[in-house]
């Protein structure tokens, strides 16, 4: 286990050490102490290492993550795991705005609640939120899965494309062109797999699926009021 005190080492030196790890590194376990809400911790990782941040993080922790596992033992600031490509990011506490924004792959698990715009413009990432999510989540979501074990705020899935949205609790309102969908067996299968990987004991049958009505896919003046 490599232990780094962020306050002593500094952000640049920490990220440089993490970026220096290759696919075959034997320094696979890292612990970061005293994050104290710093921004851009462990962003741009590109190796199969496991990084545990002991405390809360600022903006863009684990941004653009590839291959690595990042555990945040605290709450996370805006844009955590933004544009993640692969790997896993687990937030033990709550997540601020734009968690998992534009993510292309990998798994983001939020054990607490997520704020607004969770999964905005997601492009293949899987996100599992154990608690509730805020308004405008999955806005323009393109692909991937967003699983919400609690409730969703206003305008869920506004202008979304092919992303699958699963909510166990209530949805305050659906966004433009987002509709309730039938849960088919393949969806239950996807959901069960994600819940298991995210450490949730919720049952897939308790969820409702939402997705794009596909009415805004091609511009039509009759839909102008939706824009």
């Amino acid at each position: 286990m490599q232990t780094v005190d962020l306050q002593e080492t500094g952000l640049r030196a920490l990220n440089k050490m993490l970026h220096a790890q290759s696919e075959t590194t034997n320094q696979t376990a890292w612990e970061i102490l005293n994050p104290k809400g710093a921004h851009a911790i462990a962003c741009g990782l590109n190796a199969p290492i496991e990084v545990t941040v002991k405390g809360s993080t600022g903006y863009y922790c684990a941004g653009m993550n590839q291959h690595a596992t990042v555990n945040i033992h605290g709450s996370a600031g805006p844009g955590t795991a933004e544009n993640m490509m692969s790997g896993t990011v687990v937030i033990e506490g709550d997540a601020s705005q734009y968690a998992g924004a534009t993510g292309h792959g990998g798994l983001l698990v939020i054990k607490g609640n997520a704020s607004s715009r969770c999964g905005i413009s997601m492009k293949g990432i899987d996100i599992v939120v154990h608690g509730n999510i805020g308004h405008m989540s999955a806005f323009m979501a393109q692909s991937g899965n967003l699983v919400v074990c609690g409730d969703a705020g206003d305008a869920l899935g506004d202008s979304c494309y092919e992303a699958r949205l699963f909510v166990r609790g209530t949805v305050k309102s659906l966004g433009a062109d987002c509709e309730r969908k039938k849960m088919r067996p393949e969806h239950l299968e996807i959901l069960q797999d994600l819940l298991t990987r995210a450490g949730s004991d919720a049952k897939p049958e308790e969820f409702t699926r939402y997705g794009s009505a596909r009415n805004l896919y091609t511009f039509d003046v009759d839909n102008a009021s939706a824009y």
Binding site: Y60, G79, M140, S143
Partner: protein, 448 residues
């Protein structure tokens, strides 16, 4: 003669309304027939105060010129030395602006890379990610970081020579984009993670930050991911240049790209292009003033774009304080866009060479703004690259000619005092004296 006989009354010439001109009326009829606003490519077509309204005075007794073709006039520029470990060194201060694969064909992007590289300058990706063709053929490639994040990935980020965070675009300040379904080929769809054939909307705001304080943190993240090696540009539309440049510099930008309303787009609403934003001529002085007020002029580079067409435009932009310029529409024309040799095909689409701007429809007979395999195949990227290189060389020679005539041994030594304005508007916008006077509107401490 019966003066009341209608046959004997002189007829007036039929008079078209200046307000309801044939152009305006045709748009009203089009709107009434379709119910959809007009979408097109390109920049503002209206007549605007421009660099054409400025002249260089040249040298005489008070200034002496340099010998043309004998005494050196440098053209190189370094961009991004403030924070980046590896700033960009360009032989000429004319760069190629961001244009997407998707809006342009793969061979067209390749040609931009070839031409820019041969001329010793950079080219730029666009909304749709980085293609292997353009990376391979561009010695210096700037990777755009856009709100849509289509195709954005850290591998491409790390193989870019600079990163350009796009906040705005001159053709549509405050607007996003739209790539219509006709241009969404399999490859474009795959790069953008969207189904083939549907309209692809590009957001107008970044999904994970808002405001200058967030931008500072976003720049920090991008620098951390790329090890502080490459410069980070911030591209803004010519909206509120003094404040926007100030905020971009405060956020940590190495360079600011400032795009006036003549700057083109692949596709947006005509009403947006023609009615939102400011002319390129009007935005440069406030931007330079912002840099000077911060003590950052020439430290944070200013790259001006929007309607740059010639070496004269380059020289004027640099005299007003820009470090470099970027060209988009002019580069496409150099490649062969809107070439009269395709006149019959333009006519068949109801337009004419020079006016063709339905780039979003993907039917470009020149094979440049299309994803149609047959049309794309018409375009030869090697020949296109050669034409672009030639054009860039000519622009550079023209700018050098003017600079030497003004007694300058580097394009960067051109200065506002080399210029006069032909119109009151240009004098006011560029803060350059009206020709024959020492006055411009708004000049402080003036008795006029």
């Amino acid at each position: 003669m019966n003066q009341h006989d209608p046959k004997n009354i002189p007829q007036t010439t039929p008079r078209q309304s200046a307000t309801f001109s044939p152009d305006v009326n045709s748009e009203i009829r089009r709107a009434a027939a379709t119910g959809i606003y007009d979408i097109r490519g390109g920049g503002a077509k209206r007549s605007l105060p421009s660099f054409d309204d400025l002249l260089f005075m040249g040298a005489s007794i008070s200034r002496y010129p340099l010998e043309g073709y004998r005494e050196k006039c440098e053209t190189s520029v370094t961009i991004g030395g403030l924070h980046a470990e590896n700033p960009i060194h360009l032989d000429i201060p004319i760069t190629i602006a961001g244009m997407s694969f998707g809006a342009l064909s793969g061979p067209a992007k390749e040609a931009l890379g070839r031409g820019a590289t041969a001329a010793g300058t950079s080219t730029t990706t666009g909304d749709g990610g980085m293609t292997s063709e353009e990376r391979g053929h561009s010695k210096t490639l700037v990777y755009q970081y856009l709100p849509s994040r289509y195709g954005m990935n850290p591998d491409d980020l790390r193989r870019a020579d600079a990163i350009e965070i796009v906040v705005g675009q001159g053709a549509k300040p405050g607007g996003g984009g739209m790539l219509l379904g006709q241009k969404i080929s399999d490859r474009v769809a795959e790069m953008r993670n969207l189904p083939k054939g549907i309209d692809q909307r590009s957001a107008c705001r970044h999904p994970d930050w808002t405001g200058p304080d967030d931008l500072e943190i976003k720049i920090l993240e991008l620098r951390e991911i790329t090890g502080w090696k490459v410069p980070i540009y911030v591209k803004i539309a010519g909206a509120r240049p003094y404040y926007d440049v100030t905020l971009a510099v405060k956020a940590g930008a190495d360079a600011v790209v400032l795009d006036g309303m003549q700057g083109g787009t692949a596709a947006t609403q005509d009403v947006f292009i023609e009615h939102v934003g400011q002319p390129t001529l009007a935005v440069i002085r406030p931007a330079v003033q912002a840099l000077q007020d911060l003590g950052m002029h020439r430290k944070v580079q200013l790259i001006l774009s929007g309607g740059i067409r010639s070496g004269a435009d380059v020289a004027k932009a640099m005299a007003l304080g820009a470090d470099a310029v970027a060209i988009g529409t002019a580069a496409l024309i150099a490649l062969g866009d809107n070439d009269p040799k395709y006149e019959a095909e333009y006519n068949a689409m109801g337009t004419t060479a020079g006016a063709y701007d339905d780039w979003h429809e993907g039917r470009d007979p020149a094979g440049i703004t299309t994803q149609d395999p047959e049309l794309s195949a018409r375009f030869d990227p090697i020949e296109g690259g050669r034409r672009l290189k030639n054009y860039l060389k000519v622009m550079t020679l023209e700018a050098q000619t003017i600079a030497r005539a003004c007694g300058k041994n580097h394009l960067h030594n051109l200065e506002p005092e080399d210029l006069v304005a032909l119109t009151m508007e240009a004098a006011a916008m560029a803060q350059i004296p009206l020709a024959g006077t020492d006055w411009y509107p708004g000049k402080p401490n003036t008795s006029y």
